[in-house]
């Protein structure tokens, strides 16, 4: 879509962000709440000489975007909980082979088929630990239609810059919701392209443990494998080689965490001046949480607000500094309490209180306010 102001749902915003970022290959399998992303990509990709392929399942969708990425394309898939589960094995392949791809999970209420189509935030730990083996993900978490657009572009930028899969942990609520969306002029929003693979590297035969991404068809005789490998791709189970690979994956995530902090993409905070308690939330749950904080402030209760914009790498140093003198931390999330454990891990002296919600609903601001006020009254 041309630059301008639109009134669209989060799924369309996500797809437009992908097109803006230069995504030219999308493989997907229909699942709600990701449907509008998939349909918009199917409509839009042919218009920009791209490819939309409807695969036979989510395992195949994840596989196809990895294959297409190695053919030089910026690639993406979008799904929801059940599909995200099916993608986990091949997602692990993308981490090990350092393949830039973007996966959008429009989270819905599970486990299993659960309340199909109704929103949830129960996949946040699956994003972190879902695949077998050690990985270090980068996962964005949008809370508005505009952020569906913006964060999808950021996800591509971080995938390309760090040569790694990135995740957009959206949820059904944000995908269905219609809000104003501003699409900037082309090149107004920074878009990073792939670091070009050249033979002028000190060790040109090395295709892994570097930021430049090679491509099939360029005569490099690439050996790409999901087995442990040497930097040149030859399968090798020697401990030193595999340790180097895993440490490199973690190092990239650490560097990404620093970059996210510098770009102010890790979290945002408000009302923290002289606050004794703080509400921490993310995604759709942060909307009623923010409303509750504003209401509490009006009622003279000094409560701060922190919203995580990226869940992984968990912005622990930044958050720890912000919460240093806080007495009580409320963690609002649409699950039985998942990120609350991460917050508790870095909370120094504070009481950490979980405000969970399951049942396929976003919190009511009143219930958050009530929990905050009751704790304040004690």
């Amino acid at each position: 879509m041309k630059a301008g102001l639109y009134f669209v749902d989060g799924g369309i915003a996500c797809a437009e962000g992908a097109i803006y970022a230069g995504c030219r290959f999308f493989a997907g399998y229909p699942i709600t709440p990701a449907t509008s992303i998939v349909e918009q990509m199917a409509l839009r990709l042919p218009q920009v000489k791209g490819y939309y392929v409807q695969m036979e399942d989510e395992l195949a969708s994840m596989a196809a975007i990895i294959g297409a990425s190695w053919s030089g394309g910026k690639t993406m898939t979008a799904t929801s909980g059940p599909g995200f589960s099916l993608m986990q094995e091949n997602l692990g392949y993308a981490y090990l082979t350092e393949t830039p791809v973007v996966v959008v999970d429009a989270q819905r209420s599970g486990p299993s088929t659960g309340q199909a189509t109704m929103p949830g935030q129960q996949d946040v730990m699956q994003a972190r630990y879902g695949t077998h083996g050690d990985i270090a993900p980068i996962a964005f978490c949008p809370w508005s239609v505009q952020e569906m657009f913006d964060f999808t572009i950021h996800a591509f930028n971080y995938a390309e810059k760090f040569r790694t899969p990135t995740l957009v942990m959206a949820d059904g609520e944000i995908c269905y919701m219609r809000e104003p969306l501003t699409i900037p002029k082309s090149s107004a929003f920074p878009v990073l392209n792939r670091n070009r693979f050249t033979k002028s590297h000190p060790r040109p035969e090395e295709i892994f443990l570097r930021y430049e991404m090679p491509r099939f068809g360029d005569g490099h005789n690439l050996l790409v494998t999901g087995s442990a490998h040497r930097p040149n791709g030859v399968r090798d189970y020697t401990p030193t080689f595999h340790r180097a690979t895993i440490e490199w994956i973690f190092k990239k995530s650490q560097q990404a965490g620093q970059a996210l902090f510098e770009e102010k993409l890790d979290l945002e905070a408000s009302h923290l001046d002289s606050a004794e308690s703080v509400v921490v939330s993310f995604g759709a749950a942060a909307r009623p949480a923010y409303h509750a904080v504003q209401t509490a402030q009006k009622n003279g209760v000094n409560v701060g607000f922190v919203r995580l914009k990226t869940l992984w790498p968990f912005p622990e140093a930044h958050l720890k500094a912000l919460l240093k003198d806080i007495q009580r931390i409320f963690v609002v999330e649409m699950n039985m309490g998942m990120m609350v454990h991460e917050v508790a891990r870095i909370a120094c002296q504070a009481d950490v209180i979980s405000i969970p919600k399951v049942a396929g609903e976003v919190h009511d601001a009143k219930e958050i306010l009530k929990a905050v006020m009751e704790a304040d009254a004690v």
């Binding site: 879509m1 041309k2 030219r24 290959f25 493989a27 409509l43 839009r44 042919p46 218009q47 000489k49 490819y51 939309y52 392929v53 695969m55 036979e56 399942d57 395992l59 195949a60 969708s61 596989a63 196809a64 975007i65 990895i66 294959g67 297409a68 990425s69 190695w70 053919s71 030089g72 394309g73 690639t75 094995e89 091949n90 392949y93 099939f216 068809g217 360029d218 005569g219 490099h220 005789n221 690439l222 050996l223 790409v224 494998t225 999901g226 087995s227 791709g233 030859v234 399968r235």
Partner: protein, 300 residues
Amino acid sequence: MNKSENKLGKPQEYYRERYLRNLPTAFCAGCGNGTILNCFVRAVDALIQDKQLQHQNLLSVSGIGCSAWIPSPHFKGDTLHTTHGRAIAFATGAKIMNPKLQVTVFTGDGDGAAIGGNHLIHAARRNIPMTVILVNNLNYGMTGGQSAPTTPLHVQTSTYPKNPETPFDLSQLMLGAGATYVARWTTYYVNEIVDTLKEAMIHPGFSFIEIISQCPTYAARFLTEFQTSLTPKEQEQFRRQPGAWMLKALKGKKTGVANGHPRYQITLQEKPIDLGVFKQERRPTLIDYLQGLWNNKGDA
């Protein structure tokens, strides 16, 4: 004739230097995988010499299992060694994003017909231009001889004392799924494999070649049981050189000619298995369709 030359004309060193990485083989003595790699490089070389293919455009994709190790790491060209059963799905993405690539998938009967069966039938149906070489060694070799979807009925495997499952006829499956090129050989028919590969690799659509191959380490154990016609002396030879003897079981009788290739028939069990090229037809590929959409003007 130079002693290192073979019937196809060029010395072994020629193929090894151009098309293979200098790495040790991991295959058991007598395994059919080396034969298949040999046939592949001969077909590739013929097509490159004929200017029908460019070396740098060759992409070999494989999954998990013995068959996956045929191109990875041995073949000198781009290789993508993927997860179990998903090679065809990875290959689909790689091919569509860069249609100039000539994509060959190496898969096995477990990888391609059990865990990856869904991707196999859908790639055939979509007519994605790629060549799938399915190495059917009648069992799961890499993990130690378990029952596969292709294991003959009633033989003893490491998971079933008497395999209760009717084996899959994969070429029939591919015909049903809409593959536009379907062939089946055994590792005995090396010249036929090379000729078929030369056609399949430039076939404008999805091509499928099933190669029934000897697994001297595991399948040989259960094949001895129904090779009841062997004399005690032959059975002793079978035990000493199971690969070579299994190859005899993979040699069949000529039954005619079809699609410009001879037809043969082998008998591993009561039901004979036909070998030959079963289908060669053309219809639009998925890439033709997807690129056709580019010309439709949308409300950009």
